[in-house]
């Protein structure tokens, strides 16, 4: 059986890092984070959902399910050298010595460094009045090219400088530049561009909103007055109970008429964006704003296209219902700005628009909005069809977690807490002269809908994306070997905060599998030693320059026995960072326990899981997991029981009951005391 044993016992540990009981996973294979104190209460909703345990709170499991009897790839077995104990104490120390619950902003030095390197946003205005405004893109490219030309001519020496990032907000281009260029950027203020003086000022979202509101001002009075009037209008049009924002029939709104909004084409085109700005200001956080509205209406507005109202998609990105009826939208092009917006849209009313008579209308809308179910009050997709779209050709299963005496689990729990709070101690305890760390950034990874990605400035010079880093010297300098080099790079990386595994297990996907053939740090075993391969996916918050950013990560670690008996060392640590991608992708597709002989999953998109797995292997996996859950036996014994009964679950269960009644099952047939 397992060759790597942890030293159990010692009740003095604190903080719930060391588990006092067996590893427990729920049906989804998520680690049961509640193993210590409240065991046996049976109160976990996930556990009760899982059912087949007959009311047992969770499925104890030390080995996970084995793949068709291939569970023998355990470290230390199969002639891979002498078994060696791995001990959790090292990790334990890493954690227990972390006294402070440091906040992510505590590391001031890091913060200062961070602020120094973060791109700085500037508001560039005035270009809309120039002749480039008639360019296809409204002149954005031209004004950015101008800024870069000016920057380069003002800096003169050194490499060519660039605007690192930009976006358009109303009449403003927000241009980001390297912090070293701040002063140069300010010198461009009032430069003449395409016959017009443009303004270049430090970006301030509030000023910007004020300017947009001021642009709508029609008569005497302050911006504050305009804002107050708009707030009143929004108040009349927002129904918090039904989460409806009703922007229909705007032209006949007496309040808007009284403001003189429709007297000039300029105010007519600008009031809606301004209104949305005022709407934004009404919320403290973006998530509060997003949650406030589920339905929006722009009905009866004589819209020829959505240009004027396009910022609705920013103000209420997550709406499920949208009423655009009785406008003058002629074709897909008139809606093009919303092609990739409203990703949660389920209901769309376009009746009374010429576009509806277009033969491609329905198909286009179905294609644009993957969750759309009702179009013009006709069902165009069932909820099942919507759900089926999310299925993948390879069904998503719960994590494959084949631990050794909870070493992997204990390590993972301790590791991320340590990485967040006290990186030095983690390095002292589990990194040695041969440990290797490297980082790679996927700057173009798919991301969660409606999420924004922070700049990668902090990381890009350390990123060892071999697709881009081709020179041997760079490949060498971006790989960090040995505790001291790793310490140096870790201390230069932004402070992080990972979600609490106990509170948010769903935000993590953690898999653990044995890996043989690791170098033996003692040099005794020429055939190497066994360890664990941990693959972890999740997200983290990092603090850069006082701002908190969310990013997703993938981290693969190889851990093995250390040089000192009982110690654990990190052999490899590979860290990939990418834009926030959420955690929906790894929610298992079938969370219910499948029937004994699982019927092929139906659905137009996904293939049957058992078929995908090439025969009955998946089915066997499920049977093993089921019997293990029901009987409390280890997967190995469950597999034996099943295979000796021709994989008939009922026969295997009867067999189990018989043997159990006759007391013929050894204690180690069970995962834990039941």
């Amino acid at each position: 059986m397992p060759s790597m044993k942890s030293r159990r016992g010692g009740g003095s540990d604190r903080g719930g890092i060391r588990k006092r009981g067996p590893t427990r996973t729920d049906r989804d294979g998520d680690m049961d984070m509640d193993a210590g104190g409240s065991r046996g209460k049976g109160s976990r909703p996930e556990a009760s959902r899982s059912g087949a345990g007959g009311g047992r709170p969770a499925v104890p499991r030390t080995g996970g399910t084995t793949a068709g009897g291939r569970g023998s790839g355990r470290p230390g077995r199969g002639g891979r050298g002498p078994p060696r104990d791995m001990n959790v104490d090292a990790i334990q120390r890493a954690i227990t010595s972390t006294e402070s619950q440091a906040t992510i902003r505590q590391n001031r030095q890091n913060d200062r460094n961070a602020r120094k390197r973060e791109s700085v946003p500037f508001s560039v205005r005035g270009w809309k009045k120039s002749k480039v405004a008639s360019d296809k893109d409204g002149g954005v490219e031209a004004v950015l090219a101008f800024i870069e030309r000016r920057l380069n001519s003002l800096t003169k020496t050194g490499p060519r400088v660039r605007v690192t990032k930009s976006r358009v907000e109303g009449d403003t281009v927000v241009a980001f530049v390297h912090p070293d260029l701040v002063d140069t950027m300010l010198r461009i203020n009032n430069n003449t561009f395409a016959g017009i003086n443009i303004s270049v000022e430090p970006y301030d979202p509030n000023t910007l909103a004020e300017q947009e509101i001021a642009a709508v001002q029609t008569g005497p009075g302050s911006t504050a007055d305009t804002k107050a009037k708009m707030t009143t209008i929004l108040g009349k049009r927002f129904y918090p109970d039904t989460k409806l924002l009703d922007m229909s029939k705007l032209a006949s709104d007496p309040d808007l008429q009284a403001m003189g909004i429709f007297n000039t084409t300029s105010t007519e085109s600008k009031f809606f964006p301004a209104l949305m700005k005022v709407w934004d200001m009404g919320f403290k956080t973006a998530s509060e704003r997003r949650a406030a509205v589920e339905s929006a209406s722009l009905a009866d507005n004589q819209l020829n296209n959505i240009t004027v109202v396009t910022t609705l998609a920013h103000a209420v990105p997550d709406i499920k219902n949208l009423d655009l009826s009785n406008n003058n939208l002629k074709d897909a092009q008139s809606l093009i700005g919303w092609r990739w917006k409203f990703r949660s849209l389920e209901f769309l009313d376009m009746t009374g628009n010429p576009f509806c008579t277009d033969p491609a209308f329905k198909d286009t809308m179905l294609k644009w909005y993957p969750r759309l179910q009702k179009l013009n009050n006709v069902q165009v997709r069932t909820p099942e069809e919507v759900a089926a779209q999310k299925k993948t050709p390879i069904p998503v299963r719960s994590p494959h977690f084949l631990d050794e005496s909870q070493i992997g689990e204990t390590f993972v729990r301790g590791f991320f807490t340590g990485y967040d709070n006290d990186r030095n101690t983690v390095i002292n305890n589990v990194y040695d002269d041969n440990s290797v760390f490297s980082l790679n950034i996927n700057t173009s990874a798919p991301r969660a809908p409606n999420s924004e990605t922070a700049a990668w400035d902090e990381y890009i010079k350390k990123s060892r994306n071999l697709q881009k880093i081709n020179h041997l010297s760079a490949r060498m300098s971006r790989s960090f070997k040995g505790a001291e080099k790793i310490r140096e790079v870790w201390n230069a990386l932004p402070p992080t905060r990972h979600p609490d595994m106990a509170a948010f297990p769903e935000k993590w996907l953690i898999e653990c599998n044995p890996v043989p053939g690791l170098p033996d740090p003692t040099g005794q075993s020429p055939t190497g030693v066994g360890g664990l391969l941990l693959t972890i996916h999740g997200h983290l918050e990092e603090s850069v320059g006082g701002k908190v950013e969310m990013r997703s990560f993938d981290r693969t670690l190889v851990i093995g026995p250390g040089a000192v008996p009982g110690a654990i060392r990190v052999v490899n640590d590979m860290f990939c960072l990418r834009a926030y991608g959420g955690h929906e992708a790894w929610i298992p597709e079938n969370t219910d326990i499948p029937q004994a002989i699982a019927p092929p999953a139906s659905g137009p998109v996904s293939a049957a899981p058992s078929a995908v797995l090439g025969g009955d292997q998946a089915q066997r996996e499920q049977l093993i997991a089921q019997l293990s859950a029901k009987s409390g036996m280890t997967p190995q014994f469950s597999e034996m029981a099943l295979s000796s009964n021709d994989w008939n679950p009922e026969a295997a269960w009867k067999n189990f009951e018989q043997l159990k009644a006759q007391n013929q099952l050894p204690p180690d047939a069970f995962l834990a005391p039941v």
Binding site: S479, L533, M574
Partner: protein, 159 residues
Amino acid sequence: MPSGEDTLTKVSTEAATEFVQSFYPAINSNRESIHSYYAPAPSPVLFNGNPVADGAAVQEIFVHQMPAAVYDVQSYDCQIINPAYPTITSAGPKPQSEMGVKDMSILILVSGYVRYGEDPDAPQRGFSETFVLVPNPSSDKARGRKEWLIQSQNFRLVV
């Protein structure tokens, strides 16, 4: 004679690059060749948590059950796990004296996206994939022989 860091880095990163640049095109459009990337008894091979027995089983799935798919690698990195990986050949464990710089096991972490189906507008799903490559234990000198093979693979959709 242990190799220097520069040689080790060169060999490992070139092996990883060669692997990534041929394996993903193979699963996109040359699925009949998939089995040839795998060691004889890989463990574990996981796709979204589903264990698959070996290279032949992976190929079977991709050839017969997977729709068309476009895998696009956006970022990858590698590290050496063991510079002197204990390869078991048909003649038993390879003696240290016969080992060269290429007897290393390599860990690869890939990040990219996959688009399933023929529709170029289908959503891009982010994936993360980890490989352990080990030296090819067979001593045949056939053309196109791969120097490293997949000993372990873990694919996960992550977005």
